[in-house]
Amino acid sequence: MNVLTVEKLSKAFGGVQAVGGVSFAVAPGERVALIGPNGAGKTTLFNCINGQLRPDDGRIEMSGRDVTGQAPHRIWRHGVGRTFQITATFASMTVAENIQVALASADGAAKGLGRRLSARYRAEAEVLIELVGLAARTEDPAAELPYGDLKRLELAVAMTNEPSLLLMDEPTAGMAADARGGMMDLVDVMVAERGVAVLFTEHDMDVVFGHADRVIVLDRGQIIAEGSPDEIRGDATVRAVYLGTFDEATV
């Protein structure tokens, strides 16, 4: 069964049809890139899927369950981990605490008044910290991490509920070109070791062609092409939309 199925999803802002009847699906363990020029509707589509926006029309299913219009915190319960274009972490907490809070929530213990949090979920947190390569930073406040490490921390937090789907809006935005590959390699590790599927938006075509199994191209709220990286690379319509920026990016 698909981890995510989007059917005829639409969302308009005033007169602007940001997303106009989009349908696609993501299979377990699949890495799908969502690309398209600025204003194509990628972020809007993402926000509808993760519950931040309520779609005007259409249907979203996660592992067979209808989740259309549910709030973000409910979407998470369906096994969705998220990272943001601009990282969102808990600045006044250490790396470990960031993950422990998320683990407590995953465990349904966020309202617990008992034992102090710092003594709970410690071992599980350390496993995740190790996995994203932040072991040396375990006790550092998130506020003091460099941006690349914050992105790693966010990925670890997104993995706390053992998700079946990761939603990543521009996972490498704001990172130096040479660090992007490392970040995406880490995502590949999550896919390989934990069987999670990934839906991500991305501007860097090296990243897209190197780390996606399938590419969906969005333009003015519509899907204009869909296929393997090789097929998309050769697609004339896509080339026309991107006006040669492709060639620069892939050189």
């Binding site: 943001f84 808990f90 600045a91 605490e97 929530s105 509920n161």
Partner: protein
């Protein structure tokens, strides 16, 4: 039918003044993003000045008119002084600090007004030429009411012209809608801010001056009107002139008719209007959602460190001091000490919300007061003993927080602060209005401890033990998963929702928990004083709590306790020395905010900072 028309006119006349004050508040907020608590003080000064001016040269129609206008102009000038000397220094401060600093001005103006004009209400003569009544459908309607309504429309039209057709007005509108743009245009923002503030102040002064033929000038005008104005801007939408107008009319008409139809529940009507508006349109009828503040990503508040050597010594030292102190102090001091223990719990429960959850509340007195009334009423009406009455206190506090909190946690920043205050003031007025049940002004007397605890030392140990236990519980909660999750919603609501936290519900629970803790403090307060008066619910009680938290240092769990000790001591000493206690407290607050912002680094760090 005729009755309806006449009642509607009365409502409109009240709406006129409310509109003048609310629109000024709104204009100032739109441009400077500061909610000026002292706006009501400017209104009150307008009334007092008009009283003096009319006494001097108000014996003709035009003399009286000149007196009213001169009062507005003078208040505008005072506004200029206030903007350039104080406001300018706090434009970049967190919202809570701005509210507190301007509340400091309220206290200072209160005492100065009392010094100049005395404590008694001042009745001005009616306006010559407009002192009669005209007959509408057989009912007498005061001519002055019609004059007031006409004035409000003149001001509305004047503001419309100003904002459409003058450079200043266009800039004010631009700044309200998009401040970056104005900054980018390279306009000197200083004169724009000062100008907007003078305009707002003059409108407040005009509103106050126009009231004197209808209502005596009194020292309670300032806070009464500012709370009404908060309700108007919350309902109408911050920064919107039309919103201020429509909401002022809506609320005044509702009160005008409500008083006739359901005199007992006019407060409930206001509550209902606010509640319905906020549920349907959280930014107010004409407000725009962009005003909600953004998350601060540069949050230098350090991670929690539990139980290191120093803090352990502090907490144990405090415990030992609390237990041992009665052995060495006298009878008066034990009463002060009991009060400190109670207020420390009150401050700690406020601190839990402010620091633990980033929830800015300006009406924490509501839950303290509900606790006090819960106990007091149980003794008075149900003849309960002390122990069961004290058990009711946290329930009363929690119930109030559960109800009010449901609305408050849906808002953030300044809106939340105003709404919490408005709810607390509604509770305060309810204590007055339902005199049959609450004793009204006369309060509830005879709330004495049971015999076994009637000795002040025994009562102290009881209060100390319970308050210390609840403070310990709050402290423990901060470190528990619940507390960390609350801290998480403070650091990033976006991330919290993305890890499955229902942010609104979590904040609501925290609000209720803090309400229960404040209720415990309130219950003990009632028995410590032997009585309950509406003042426990008043805004000054909320502000006392905030001052304690700030004095002690917000970034530390020990802060509220140190603050309670410090403020109670300062107050005890100062009231002995001077009767200008409010003036001193006001200056203390302003100094805390303006001169010692670094001493308060913890708070400035986590409260959202605003752009210039």
């Amino acid at each position: 039918m005729s009755f309806i028309v006449v009642q509607a006119i009365t409502g409109l006349a009240s709406a006129a003044s409310l509109f003048l004050i609310a629109v000024g508040l709104s204009i100032v907020f739109g441009v400077t993003r500061v909610v000026n608590f002292a706006h009501g003080s400017l209104y009150m000064l307008g009334a007092y000045l008009a009283f003096s001016f009319t006494a001097a040269f108000g014996d003709t129609f035009f003399g009286y008119l000149a007196a009213i206008l001169l009062a507005a102009v003078v208040v505008g000038g005072l506004g200029a002084v206030m903007e350039t000397s104080l406001l300018r220094r706090i434009y970049r401060a967190p919202e809570l600090f701005q509210l507190l600093a301007t509340f400091g001005v309220v206290l200072v103006v209160q005492d100065l007004t009392r010094m100049i004009w005395g404590a008694d209400d001042l009745f001005a003569p009616r306006m010559p030429g407009l002192d009669g009544a005209i007959n509408i459908f057989g009912h007498a309607v005061p001519e002055y009411d019609l004059f007031l309504i006409a004035t409000a429309f003149v001001v509305l039209g004047g503001l419309w012209l100003l904002f459409r057709h003058t450079r200043f007005g266009v800039l004010v509108r631009a700044a309200t809608e998009d401040r970056e743009m104005v900054a980018a245009l390279g306009i000197d923002q200083r004169w724009l801010f000062t100008g907007a503030f003078i305009l707002g102040a003059a409108l407040a002064g005009l509103g106050g001056a126009l009231q004197i033929p209808r209502q005596a000038a009194s020292l309670s005008m300032d806070l009464n009107i500012i709370v009404d104005a908060f309700v108007v801007v919350v309902v109408g939408g911050m920064g919107s002139i039309m919103g201020a107008f429509v909401a002022a009319v809506l609320i005044s008409e509702l009160l005008a008719f409500g008083v006739v139809i359901f005199p007992q529940i006019t407060l409930v009507l206001i509550f209902a209007v606010m509640a319905v508006t906020l549920v349907l349109k959280p930014s107010g009828l004409f407000g725009r959602p962009e005003f909600t503040t953004q998350e601060d990503r540069r949050n230098p508040d350090p991670p929690l460190r539990a139980g290191d050597g120093l803090s352990r010594i502090f907490w144990w030292g405090l415990l030992v001091a609390g237990v041992a102190a009665p052995l060495v102090i006298g009878d008066f001091a034990i009463i002060v000490l009991t009060e400190i223990a109670i207020l420390a719990l009150f401050a700690a429960s406020l601190h839990f919300l402010l620091w633990g959850g980033g929830l800015i509340t300006f009406g924490h007195a509501a839950y303290f007061g509900l606790g006090a009334y819960g106990s007091g009423l149980a003794v008075f009406h149900l003849s309960l003993g002390m122990a069961p009455a004290l058990l009711l206190a946290p329930l009363a506090g929690a119930a109030g927080a559960l109800l009010f909190g449901w609305f408050c946690v849906r808002l953030s920043g300044i809106y939340m602060a105003m709404l919490t205050l408005a709810f607390a003031q509604i509770a305060w007025s309810a204590a007055f209005q339902w005199g049959g049940f609450t004793g009204g002004d006369n309060g509830i007397l005879g709330v004495w401890p049971s015999d076994w605890a009637s000795d002040p030392f025994v009562f102290y140990y009881l209060a100390f033990a319970v308050c210390a236990a609840v403070i310990w519980g709050l402290r423990h909660t901060v470190f528990s998963p619940f507390g960390y999750t609350l801290r998480a919603t403070r650091d990033s609501a976006l991330r919290s929702a993305a890890i499955g936290v229902d942010v609104t519900r979590h904040r609501w629970l925290a609000f209720t928990l803090a309400g229960a803790a404040a209720g415990v403090a309130g219950g003990f307060f009632a028995f410590a004083k032997g009585s309950v008066f509406p003042e426990v619910l008043f805004v000054s009680t909320s502000v006392d709590g905030l001052v304690m938290v700030l004095l002690g240092g917000v970034q530390s769990l020990a802060g509220p306790i140190l603050g309670a000790i410090a403020l109670t001591e300062i107050e005890t000493e100062l009231t002995r020395l001077t009767d200008l206690w409010q003036l001193c407290l006001g200056i203390l607050i302003i100094l805390l905010v303006v001169v010692l912002p670094h001493g308060l680094a913890g708070l400035s760090a986590f409260m959202r900072r605003r752009q210039p």
